[in-house]
């Protein structure tokens, strides 16, 4: 069986790329360094593939078909929304495992929408570049990456309870995959941020710390207990992305999380939290 042996919860903040010098240098450096820490830890692990759980921002999927969750099972490139320092590139997917996750889902009541040829957005591509590609550089080994997209920013949203079940299904599928590969999972998003609304630029440190504590305690129940109204009120529409955290935590089945870094950065309109998911 293959196994998910670790993972991270990290942000995917495009403003870092567009306005790298907006915050004070020390703060900015801590955030970039946090990605580097994740990359180093991935490089130090034996993982040969990473499942990145992100969400569309009403760009990849349109009003003619909004999936609750979608997995890329074939060709992958991205991001569609290129940024300075984040250009479109071909992505090395783990097609066999992705197809197995979709198939095992279909057999167990999880009706994955499937992307046979997919273009990612920054939700996948930021952690892919800063963690996966960087870990490849550091370690000199190849690491594939599977894009998973949840409906966390466009309604009808996936429920938090279903995001958790989906994470459990991903784990079961990985463990029934005929290989001895080790995997990491990355929950991409959050924490508090307000996108495209008049509160933009607000960061709610108290909410962010609540979320971080729940993640570090591996308290999925606690995360799932937030109502959407509470999340919207306290964390903004961007914080609906805690669904991605929940799914990744359930997939990793971590017993705890370790805070790598937290920086509230209004200049980057986001409370940026980095957590490593630890097993055992």
């Amino acid at each position: 069986m293959a196994e998910i042996t670790g993972g991270f919860l990290v942000p995917h903040d495009p403003v870092m790329f567009v306005a790298p010098d907006a915050p004070e240098a020390d703060k900015a450096k801590k955030v970039w360094d946090a990605y580097e820490t994740c990359a180093q830890r991935l490089a130090d692990s034996a993982a040969s593939s990473v499942i990145i759980i992100g969400n569309d921002h009403y760009m990849l999927f349109g009003t003619t078909c909004l999936p609750k969750y979608c997995i890329a099972t074939g060709h992958v490139e991205g991001p569609l929304d290129q940024l300075p320092g984040l250009k479109k590139e071909q992505v090395s997917n783990h097609e066999a495992l992705a197809q197995h996750i979709a198939q095992q889902g279909s057999d167990s009541g999880f009706d994955w929408a499937v992307a046979r040829s997919f273009t990612t957005d920054h939700a996948f591509s930021i952690p892919y570049k800063l963690i996966v590609r960087r870990a490849e550089e550091i370690s000199g080994r190849s690491i594939t990456a599977i894009p998973v997209y949840l409906a966390s920013a466009v309604d009808p949203f996936i429920t938090k309870a279903r995001a958790r079940q989906l994470g459990e299904q991903i784990r079961a599928a990985v463990e029934s995959f005929d290989s001895d590969e080790q995997l990491f999972v990355i929950g991409s998003g959050g924490i508090s941020h307000w996108v495209g609304v008049k509160e933009t630029g607000k960061v709610n440190e108290a909410f962010d710390h609540q979320v971080i504590d729940l993640c570090c305690n591996a308290d999925i129940d606690g995360l799932a207990a937030y109502t959407d109204e509470q999340v919207l009120e306290n964390g903004g529409n961007g914080a609906m992305e805690i669904r991605n955290f929940i799914c990744a935590m359930a997939a990793a089945n971590a017993s705890r999380g370790e805070l790598i870094e937290y920086q509230p950065v209004p200049e980057w309109v986001t409370g940026l939290g980095f957590i490593e998911l630890k097993k055992g």
Partner: protein, 94 residues
């Protein structure tokens, strides 16, 4: 229904190049192919992102539309249009 059609139009104008071209050539004609009332058309034509959000349109779309299609394109102007006093602004969808 109004929200749905507004979202479809904004989404098309954010990501579909053919739609963008057609809209730039003749906005009224482009909008004419959707079942949109006068007020809805006005929101699109005048980039009234505030009114669209009040109609329930997803802020990711109003922001994307503004950046792609508005004459100004600056997020600071977008924020002003929304009535925001934010000093900071996501320059793209977060």
């Amino acid at each position: 229904m109004k929200r749905d059609v507004l979202e479809r139009i904004l989404w098309s104008l954010s990501v579909d190049r053919f739609s963008k071209e057609k809209y730039r050539e003749d906005p009224q004609k482009f909008l004419g192919r959707f079942p949109l009332d006068e007020e809805g058309a006005r929101m699109i034509l005048e980039f009234d992102v505030k009114a669209m959000q009040e109609e329930g349109v997803n802020p990711m779309l109003t922001l994307g539309y503004w950046i792609e299609m508005s004459p100004d394109r600056r997020v600071s102007s977008y924020n002003r249009k929304l009535g925001s006093d934010s000093a900071h602004s996501a320059s793209i969808k977060g």
